[in-house]
Symmetry: C2
C-alpha cells in the first residue's frame, strides 16, 4: 500500500505556521504522498514544501473531548477566559438544558467555581459520572436553584442518582463552618448521598514518608517491616480509593444510576475516583492512547494541581503542606487492577512508573503548572514539548506495551479484599536487589514475543518465495 | 533421526520379568528400534516381543545416589536391614576412612541412630554438606571418638569446618537434660559451631493455622489483615530458614569450608537447610529432574516423617502434636527463590503446588510412610505407582515447565530482606478471586511460547519445501 492511500485528510484550510524570527503565515496545508505543502495562495509569497523524510518528529498537541451524538449534553465555552473557574479548561461538557448564565450562577455556589461537569458517559446505559467542588451551603444551609436544576437535568424521568461525597459525614459537616458543606437531601430529593472516607493532604504525605522509610529500613526484621508497612497506612489508602471507585462503577453499571462525585475542592480524591471508575468500566481507558486521554482529561484538564502536589521528589521527607502523593496513589491503584487483570491492559507497569517519574520531574511541559489556565499563561504549549509526543514514538511505545494484552470489552471488577492488595514493588522496592531479576524475566518474555513476530514474518516471506517459485514452474510448464 | 540411533544401551543381562499369575522369568533384555525383546536364551521357553507402540506408560523406580570419582567417599550398606538407623535408607555415603563398625558406634552416639552422612558435594571446591541427628552428650558431656574421627575425616589438611546447629544455644543446652546435646568445641577443635534458630513442631503448626485463618478473614480491614499476617510469624519462619540456608551455602562457596548440619532429630529443619543450600549452590537442583532427585534424596530417603508431619490437610486446624508444615515451608522458600530468580528454574510454581498437594493427599505411594524402612515394610514399591512416573509424562511435564527457563550455571543468592519476601498467593490465596486472572495470564504466556514452536516448525517445513522446489528447478535446468 502506498503512503498516499493512507491520507484521510489531504487538505486543511486556515492553518497558521509559526516559526522563530519569521512572521506567522496563514494558508492552506496540503498533504501529498511525499510532501507537506503550506501555501498562502497569494502571489509572490513563500510556499513551503517539506519532504516527509526530513521530518524528525511530530508534536501532536491535542485536546480530548467526548463527542456525543445525543441531544442531552453540550460543550460549553463559558470558561473560555478561565474567568468562571480558574482550575477548569476553556471547554467543558454540561447538560444541554442548562445555559451559560446558569453555569455562572452555579459556579458561585461551588468550591473554586467548580460547577458540576460531565466526567464519563457510560455508553451501555447512558448513565453518567459528573464531578464538581463541594456546594457552599455554609452553616445557614444556602441553596442554589440553578445547581439543583443542573444536577437534576442529568437524570432521566423517574430515575434517581447518587452523590458520592469522598469525605466522611462528620468532615463534610465540619466543612460548613468554613463556608463549604454538602447537598441537603431535602433540596436534592432525587439524589441519595453516600459518604466515603478518602484521606487527603498531609495524611497521605505522612503515609508515603512512613512507607518509604520502612522500605529503606535495613534492620532485616520481618515483624518490624510488617508493623511499619501496616503503620504507614499506604495500603489502607489504596483500599479506600479502590473501594470508592468500585462503588461509583457499580452505581452506573449495576444500579443503572448516574452519579455526582466531589469531596472538598474536587481536584484530588474526586479525580482518583472518577478516573479509576473509568478504568473499571471503559475498556478504551485500558489502552495506551485511552489511558493518555484519561490522564489528559481527568487530571490535567480537570485541574489537579500537579505543581503543588508533586513539588518535590516523592522520596523527599521535608514536605510543604500542599504536597501530597494523590497522583501516585491513583497510579498505584491502576497497578493493583493491572496486577489482578494482567491481560486486560495494553500498557505495562513501566508505563505507570514512567508517568510517576514525569509527574515529579520531567523534561516535558505536560505536568507543569496547576491547571490549564496556568499552562496557558506560561505558554507551555509553545515553549515545551508534550510528553505524549515522545511516549507515542514507536521506539518508546514498545517499552510500555504489555505483551499479554488481549482486548477485553468487559467491565472488570477488582478485588478490594486486603489480601488482594500488594505493595507496588516497582515503585517502592525498585532499588531492591531482586527486582533486577524480575526485570530480566520481563525482558525474556518480551524477547520471546518479539521472536514470535520475526518468525511470523519469516513464514510470510517463505510462503511468498514458495508461491513465486510455484508460479515460475507454472509459467515454464505452460508453453 | 531414527529412534534406533537414540538407543544408548541396546542390551541388559540378568533382567527379571514379573507378571501377575506367571512365574518370574530371568533373561536378557534387548532394545531395538521397534521392539523390546526379553529372552531367557534357553530353548523352548517363552520369548517376549513387545512393540514400542503398545507401551502405554513406563514406571521408572529409581534410587538416587551421588556417584563420586574421588577416593574420599564410599557407599556404605551398613543400614541394609534398617537396623543401624531406622530412618535412613539402606545405602548412605560416608567418608571412605570410616568402616561400618565405626559407623555402628557413631550411630549409638547420635539421635535416632542418624550418624553423619554426606548430603551434598560441592564440585567447585570439593567441600561438602553433611547432616546428622544431635550428639547424645547428655549432662555428663559424653564423647564418642569414632564420631570425632568421622567428622574430621571430611576435612582436608589444615582446613576448618562449621557445625550449623539449627537450634538457639539455650535450646541446645536444655537438650542435654534429655540426653541430647551439641558438639563441645574442646572435642571438635577443627570445627566452629554456629547456632541459628529455626522453629519446629507446634510452633510452625500454630503459625500455619493463624496464617490460614487470617487469609480467610472476610472483614475487609487492611490493618487487621497485616497485623494478623505479622502475628502468624509465617514469613518470619521463611526468613529464618532461608537465612540459615544462605549461611550454609556461603560457608561452602565463599569460605571454602565443609559443614555439618543438625538440630535435634535431623529430620526437619536440618533437611530444610541442606536442600535449600543445594537449590542455591547447584544448578541441577533447579531443573525438574534435579529437583525430583533432591526431594527423593533429601526428604524421602533422608527420612522426613511425611506421614506424621502431613497427617491432615494443611488447612485443618485440629492438629496432632507430630504434625508440622515443615515440607510446605521448604516449598515456600523454594518459591521465594523462584520468584526472585524467575528465569533460573526449569519448573514453575505449579510444580511446587503439586508437590504440596501430593505430600498431604495423593493417589501415588511416593509420600506414604515416614521413611524408607516403613515404605519397604508396606511394599509400597510393589503396591503403588510412583508420583514421578506420572509427573514425568510429557503431557504432565508441560504443565510444570517454566517457559522463561534459561539454564544458569551460577550460584544464586536470594535476598532475605523482609521486604523481599512475600506471601505465597498460589498456596494461601489460591481461592482468591483474582488468582483466576493470574492463571489466565500464565496460560497466555504458555500459549505464546507454544505458538512460537509451531511457527518454528512451519519455518522449517517451508524451508524444506523451498529447497525441494529449488532442487527440482536445478534438475530441470541442468540438461
Amino acid at each position: 500500500m502506498e503512503f498516499a492511500e493512507l491520507i484521510k485528510t489531504p487538505r486543511v484550510d486556515n492553518v497558521v505556521l509559526h516559526r522563530p524570527f519569521y512572521p506567522a503565515v496563514e494558508g492552506t496545508l496540503c498533504l501529498t504522498g511525499h510532501h507537506l505543502i503550506l501555501s498562502s495562495r497569494q502571489d509572490n509569497t513563500e510556499e513551503l514544501w517539506l519532504l516527509h523524510s526530513n521530518i524528525d518528529a511530530i508534536d501532536k498537541r491535542f485536546k480530548v473531548f467526548c463527542v456525543f451524538q445525543i441531544s442531552e449534553w453540550r460543550l460549553s465555552y463559558v470558561n473560555q477566559e478561565f474567568a468562571v473557574c480558574p482550575s477548569y479548561p476553556p471547554a467543558v461538557t454540561v447538560p444541554k438544558a442548562i445555559d451559560d448564565d446558569a453555569l455562572r450562577k452555579v459556579a458561585t455556589f461551588r468550591h473554586g467555581g467548580r460547577f458540576p461537569v460531565l466526567s464519563y458517559y457510560h455508553k451501555k446505559n447512558g448513565m453518567v459520572i459528573m464531578r464538581s467542588g463541594q456546594p457552599l451551603t455554609g452553616t445557614n444551609g444556602r441553596r442554589c436553584k440553578e445547581d439543583e436544576k443542573l444536577i437534576n437535568a442529568t437524570l432521566r424521568a423517574g430515575k434517581r442518582g447518587y452523590i458520592i461525597d469522598t469525605r466522611p459525614l462528620n468532615v463534610a459537616q465540619q466543612a460548613r463552618a468554613k463556608g463549604g458543606g454538602f447537598e441537603q437531601e431535602a433540596h436534592y430529593p432525587q439524589w441519595r448521598r453516600i459518604h466515603k472516607s478518602i484521606e487527603r493532604y498531609h495524611i497521605l504525605q505522612d503515609s508515603l514518608i512512613k512507607l518509604v522509610e520502612s522500605c529503606n529500613d535495613q534492620t532485616q526484621n520481618m515483624d518490624r517491616w510488617l508493623s511499619k508497612l501496616e503503620a504507614s497506612n499506604w495500603l489502607t489508602h489504596i483500599k479506600e480509593i479502590l473501594t470508592t471507585a468500585c462503588l461509583a462503577a457499580q452505581c452506573l453499571d449495576r444500579e443503572g444510576a448516574s452519579i455526582l462525585i466531589h469531596g472538598t475542592e474536587g481536584t484530588d480524591s474526586t479525580l482518583q475516583v472518577t478516573s479509576l471508575a473509568q478504568i473499571i468500566l471503559e475498556p478504551r481507558s485500558r489502552t495506551i492512547r485511552g489511558f493518555e486521554a484519561l490522564i489528559e482529561r481527568e487530571w490535567l484538564q480537570a485541574g489537579h494541581p500537579f505543581q503543588q502536589r508533586c513539588a518535590q521528589s516523592a522520596y523527599c521527607n521535608s514536605k510543604q503542606k500542599w504536597e501530597s502523593p494523590v497522583f501516585l496513589l491513583f497510579l498505584d491503584c491502576v497497578w493493583q487492577i493491572l496486577r489482578q487483570f494482567p491481560c486486560s491492559f495494553e500498557f505495562n507497569e513501566n508505563f505507570l512508573i514512567m508517568l510517576f517519574e514525569h509527574a515529579y520531574a520531567s523534561q516535558f511541559g505536560t505536568f507543569l503548572g496547576n491547571n490549564e489556565s496556568e499552562r496557558c499563561k506560561l505558554k507551555l504549549q509553545q515553549k515545551t514539548m508534550s510528553l505524549w509526543s515522545w511516549v507515542n514514538r514507536p521506539s518508546e511505545l514498545s517499552k510500555f506495551t504489555n505483551p499479554l494484552f488481549e482486548a477485553n470489552n468487559l467491565v472488570i471488577w477488582p478485588s478490594v479484599a486486603p489480601q488482594s492488595l500488594q505493595l507496588w514493588e516497582g515503585i517502592f522496592l525498585r532499588w531492591n536487589r531482586s527486582s533486577k531479576y524480575l526485570d530480566e524475566a520481563y525482558e525474556e518474555m518480551v524477547n520471546i514475543i518479539e521472536y514470535n513476530k520475526q518468525l511470523q514474518a519469516k513464514v510470510n516471506l517463505l510462503r511468498r518465495q514458495l508461491a513465486e517459485l510455484e508460479t515460475e514452474d507454472g509459467v515454464q510448464e505452460s508453453p
